[in-house]
Amino acid sequence: MPDVVARGVRFHTQWLGPEGAPPVVMVHGMLTGNVATWYFGLGAALAVDHRVLMYDQRGHGRSQAPVTGYTLTDLAADLDALAEGVGPAVLVGHSFGGVVALRRALDRPGAVRSVVAVDSFEPGGAASAGPEGDDVVDLGAVLAWGRQRRMRAMAERSSRGRTRRTRATAEQVLLGGTTLVSDLRRDGHLDRSALARLVVPVLWVSGDTSPFRAEVADLGAALPDASTERIELPGGHALHLDCPERLAAAVLPFVARTRCPEEATHG
């Protein structure tokens, strides 16, 4: 069943891969992401020998868009509710999805085998987090990045003068009709001292031409070296589109090494 109601919100979910295989849960990024971030790419690659759960975060893709509830605490609680039934899982997150995954790893280390974070950062970063003001500067950068991608996609289509379907984008809904920006401004950061003590293994993947390099490096520096593997790939923020094969080649061995042992997922 693709739709699941959790925490009072209807979520669009998708499963790939054989039932009973070690579980992986994938979390897309804010505003421009949805299940399609993973579905035909890293999700399909992992699904060869994992049971992969993907879902649209609240307000994204085909999930419901409630007006409120977009704090990091809420988004991590959504993940926790949706992933509860699958047992200890590997969490894979893109952009802020990686932050959501790390938050669940901090809150429920026993429920998380490992975390793969792909070009993840907190809008604003810890350094600039503060009372109302400049801490959302990078949320603006995220929007500019998303618009640029969409414009490129539109340019790739040659217009034949047909009436195009006009639908509100997730970005318009989230920015115009929800508390996302104020929620993330209030609660959008990880506890750095808790992060420094994280024992759950992390694969920290960054793009060498990402416009968010500084923010990604800033958050990555807070992770303990003992439990963190770091890899830089040739590409921008959307590594899943820029270098899908290299991303899969980096992620698959890490997931195989850290996932739930096969025997523990059967019966």
């Binding site: 299940v35 579905y39 893709g61 289509r157």
Partner: protein
Amino acid sequence: MPGETVEVPVATAVTAAEVLAAVTQMIGEIIGEDYLAEIDVTMDSMVTEDLELESIEFVALAEQLRNRYGERVDFVDWIAGMELDQIILLTVGQLVEFVVGCLTS
């Protein structure tokens, strides 16, 4: 009913016309019948340019194909093996031929 799996027996010969009708119906459910009424879905229709399917709607199409044809039509694997520009140029005819090929092999 979405979610219901209709298994097509292996021996049944499936024609391209039947699959085209089924795919057209799926696309109508995904993008809306109102929009579908304005366009003519043919084998030459381009899935992203003419029908304007977005990536999240490709996911919905994958789900509908699986519900109708079961695991024998591995649309996810097929799309996953394509380059982005191949997906942008994908036609309904290619999709129909792929489905027919899966069901008759």
